[in-house]
Amino acid sequence: MTSVAVPARARRSNVARDALAFVRRHILTAYSLLFFGYLMLPIGVVIAFSFNNPKGRFNYTWQGFTWKNWSQWDAIPGLRDALMLSLEIALVASIVATALGTLVALALVRYRFHGRGSTNLLVFLPLSTPEIVLGASLLTLFLNLNNTITIGFWTILIAHVMFCISFAVVTVKARLIGFDRHLEEAAMDLGANEWTTFQKVTLPLIAPAILAALLLCFAISIDDFVVTYFNAGNRVTFPVFVWGAARVATPPQINVIGTAIFVIAVTLMLANILVQRVRASKGVV
């Protein structure tokens, strides 16, 4: 060791500096772990209380462990129907919104045309309007159409497609911008027409973004309460069911469905991360 020659004082201050650096480095890590604990706390409560055995109508205090909420998840009248309606709406709305949003994204990235600015604005505006205004204004439209449209399934669907389109546009646009146009030009040079080029080159390359948009729209739709609540009439989606329940009783089966949705969504996202990692390690873009 050559450090023997270093005077003791300098060595000590080195040690002190290292210690300080160590603390500094790990304070941020420790804080971040605390933060993730905070973020996960309510989720943990939701999962734990799906196994609670509450004595009264409300599921707020821990009474004891049971499997029965899981085995009898649809013992609560109306819960199964509400869940089915939510899934149906989310499936249709995410497909329609992603299709419309992808077309808009293609036009915005690929073409120069008059009205580009206002198109961007129209896509951006719904994202920056409070949900309650979106819900209230749509309800006002439907009320003023004087019963030409019944408030129920179709009005919920119309509303969900409306607020999902912007998310789909933003997601697909991000992928299209970072996309090598030479690949398409090469296909055209080799004699492919526009449609063939789109099918064989463009579509496969933006497929991951389309899938991401689909999943995002599905997640936003199935979770939406505010806009749905305004435009559902007497139809009940899962969040609307929870809202109604919260006023009179909160059966633990609500937590069972909440936990199930959470587990499925996280599994899908984890799978997505894994697939990306494998693709990246194989050098596929």
């Binding site: 890590t29 804080y31 971040s32 933060f35 973020l39 996960m40 706390l41 309510p42 989720i43 409560v45 707020y60 205090t61 419309l100 077309l103 808009v104 036009a107 073409y111 045309f113 198109t119 129209l122 896509v123 920056s128 309007t129 409070p130 949900e131 309650i132 205004v133 979106l134 209230a136 204004s137 749509l138 309800l139 006002t140 439209l141 009320l143 003023n144 119309i158 497609v161 409306m162 389109i165 912007s166 546009v169 526009e194 449609w195 979770d223 309460f225 505010v226 609540y229 899962f238 969040p239 919260a246 909160t250 609500i254 909440g258 949705i261 959470f262 969504a265 996280v266 991360i273 990692r277």
Partner: protein, 288 residues
């Protein structure tokens, strides 16, 4: 394809048409109807008619001034809290996340996968009188600090805590995106030029992350100001925000003109605040 070749200029409009028509008919037109409704007078029993009733706006502001102010106060506090809480974590993931970045981001958005109402109900459990937080504070003999008779649930604190938690990912994600784009060599350069670490942070990292701060602030503040779920589930009627009033006018009292006027005032105030904010921090940062 002949058609497309002859009318190349038409293609973008054909691509745009379905989506833009949907947004026009179900976003823009409804806003027009909302404006029309907000100037009507009458009652639900005898019907409402359009009478240029500008007084709806005056009444909305006069009668519900408290709820309006509370909405912007709660939303403002929650936005600042979310910024302060999540900036260090966004920084940590961006600069120390390494190969775990995607997984850590998944943790950040994880709350979104639990239905909004259910996670707010979970906060009801956590903040309740015999819940985790109150009991811990009690054991530490810190309950008196609250000044709310030892309660958290049904107070403004609970509402702000709920809003902060529920919109946190909207803050953390844009912060992460802008921090992630910073070239670490810029910070090293500042340190090589004898900037202390805090100074390098203040002069290099923070300014470069401003687009994320601006985007996160807007994405948190806008939905927070219109929220009524947290005030309903975690607060008492004295904590009600303007969203609660609009909700009850629309869904229970069927007083559509008043509710429409309030919705417009809410939107107008948010728009003004966004513009003022954009002016203060610079528009080029707002549009990224």
């Amino acid at each position: 394809m002949g058609f497309f070749h002859r009318h190349r200029g038409l293609t973008p409009y054909l691509l745009l048409a379905p989506g833009m028509l949907w947004l026009t008919f179900f976003f823009l037109v409804p806003l027009g109807f909302l404006a029309y409704q907000s100037l009507q007078s009458g009652s639900i029993d005898f019907g409402y008619s359009f009478t240029w009733a500008w007084s709806n706006y005056g009444d909305a502001i006069r009668n519900y001034r408290g709820q309006f102010e509370r909405s912007f106060l709660y939303a403002g506090i929650a936005t600042v809290l979310a910024l302060v809480i999540s900036y260090p974590v966004a920084y940590w993931i961006a600069f120390r996340g390494g190969r775990w970045k995607n997984l850590l981001l998944l943790f950040i958005v994880a709350p979104f996968f639990v239905t909004y109402l259910i996670r707010t109900l979970a906060w009801q459990t956590i903040l309740s009188d015999n819940g985790l937080v109150v009991r811990t504070l009690d054991q530490l003999h810190l309950l008196g600090l609250l000044g709310t008779n030892g309660r958290i649930l049904s107070t403004g604190t609970a509402v702000v805590a709920g809003i902060t938690y529920n919109f946190l990912p909207f803050m953390a994600l844009p912060l992460y995106v802008s921090l992630e784009q910073i070239d670490p060599r810029l910070i090293e350069a500042a340190e090589d030029l004898y900037a202390s670490r805090p100074k390098a942070f203040l002069r290099v990292t923070l300014p470069l992350s401003m687009p994320g701060v601006v985007a996160g602030t807007l994405l948190t503040f806008i939905p927070a100001a219109g929220d009524f779920i947290n005030a309903q589930l975690l607060g008492s009627p004295t904590n009600h925000m303007i969203g609660n009033v609009i909700e009850s006018k629309y869904k229970e009292l069927l007083d559509y003109p008043a509710a429409a006027a309030m919705s417009f005032v809410l939107m107008a105030v948010i728009l003004l605040m966004v513009l003022a904010y954009a002016r203060a921090v610079g528009t080029e940062k707002l549009t990224g």
